[in-house]
Amino acid sequence: MTVVTNDLPAVPAAVTDARKAGSGLLIACIVVLCVWVLLPIYLLLVNALSSPAEVTSFPKRMIPSFDFGSLSFFLNFQGVGKALWNSVVVALLTMVLSIGIGAPAGYALSRFDFPGKEAFRFLVLMTRAFPLPLLALPLAVLFIRTGLDDTAFGLAIVHTTLSLPFAVLITFSLFSGIPVELEEAAWTLGCNRWQAFRKVVLPLALPGIAASAVFAFTISWNEVFAAAVLTIENRTLTAFLLQSINVSPLYLKFAGGAALVVPALIFIFAVRKYLFAMWGIANR
């Protein structure tokens, strides 16, 4: 048996040709998919960067006129800045709550067999299966009684009921994919359970945990209904938009849509390294 080194594989010419054709197809697919994802966002931004008159005119141009009429009208709308801040606070609280509570549960589900495990799994899935909007209504009554009504923390609690099952399911799937033998090896080498988790499992799971934190943040940032029901003075951006969008003309809708989209783009960009690191696991 010959030893084939990883950096110099012996590849016949025919295989190289086939790979070239394959990579051509791959690049074509990537271009099509990128256009599919980016073009609709671009079109929304074109609308947002056009004057109100241009937005309602026909036909539409593909290049924005960089008229900030629509945007400045939207941004000068009273309460937009505060709504943005509220959205960030609620989303961060949701992220911390759902990972802090969800990841340990995901780990327990993946590593132990114990009575009540299926009951817990069912509880988690059932939570996700229930439409949150209706859940927000009895909670609104509950929050008024406890003084949590119209607070960022109260809304974050509701958003956590929505994102917690995501966190549990994703971390469960993630920990299940990390061989228990790695942990056992660490125990044999003198680590206790916590050390083995921190030094062996956590580095492997961290990118995925970050990904599920992205979900938690995103879920909260995007959530419209519960935010609209549970906040009055401290509206989040989505609730604020929903409130004003029913009575607003097209150019305000598109400026508002852009205001929702742009921070989301920045946020996903900020955590792109975690998404990349997730890919990096494949190279171990």
Binding site: L26, C29, L33, V37, L38, P40, I41, L43, L44, T56, F58, K60, M62, A105, A108, L109, F114, F120, L123, V124, M126, A129, F130, P131, P133, L134, L135, P138, L142, I157, V158, L164, F166, I170, S173, S176, R193, G208, A211, V214, F215, W221, N222, V224, F225, T238, L241, K253, L260, V261, A264, L265, I268, R272, L275, W279, G280, I281, A282, R284
Partner: protein, 282 residues
Amino acid sequence: MRSTKALPYFLLAPATVFLVVFFLYPFVLVAIDAFTKGGAVTLDNFRTMTSNWKFSETFRNTMLLAAVVVPIQLAMALSMATIVSKLSTGRSAILYIFAIPLGLSDLAAGLIWLAIFEQSGFLNSWLVSLGLIDKPIMFLGYQNKWVIFIAVVLAEVWRATAIMMVILVAGMGLIPKEYYEAAEVFGASPWKRFVKVTLPLLRPSLQTALILRVILAFEVFAVVAALAGTQFPVLMGETYHWQFALQDRGVAAAFAMLILVISIAFTLLLLYLLRVPKEARL
């Protein structure tokens, strides 16, 4: 070994307490709303719900939407995840671009596709400039229900495929490379490797991704509201309508119970179909 026995319960305790207080308790309150009227136990709310003229259309729309959207998303998410895992250069940029819709609100997605489909929107502009039509068509009107359906499908596929893709990319990253090398040594084609190695080992991630997606498909709301208003009734939209416009919490709760039952049924089905035997876990 007492500490090991207690450990899983210790780890599960925060999540359990949280769910009991903030989910089970309000859930019971909603169930009570659905099955009572004026304090008496009754099925009146369900009768009101099903006898409404819009009900069968609402139910059909929701199921049809899920049946069309989810398979398309599964195929696209698998393709995208495979492409990302094959890349050696520019993978972080591509992964970022593919993941963008993940960060967008369904309200924003609805508005984005509204920019394309509205009467003075981009689709009409393109069709006119290509000479295919003389004047803009009102795509999202009641006389074009199938266009509304297509617009909603496109918006949903566009928006929520990224969630599945990221879960699948994470899952694919956890499949040891040795399996692929072994399959290649035995002469398995890329398609064979995908079917015989990737898909079976991806099962836990597939299960997670599908459960999340199917349940979310039954809860479609803001995209439809932004694109179609009330012209394309779906279950969540009707729930909202009964809750706020018609001020009938009981019927709204009945709708919620219906969505709950469908969601649980499909969750159990997926758990069964994609179950991973303990011996087969990675």
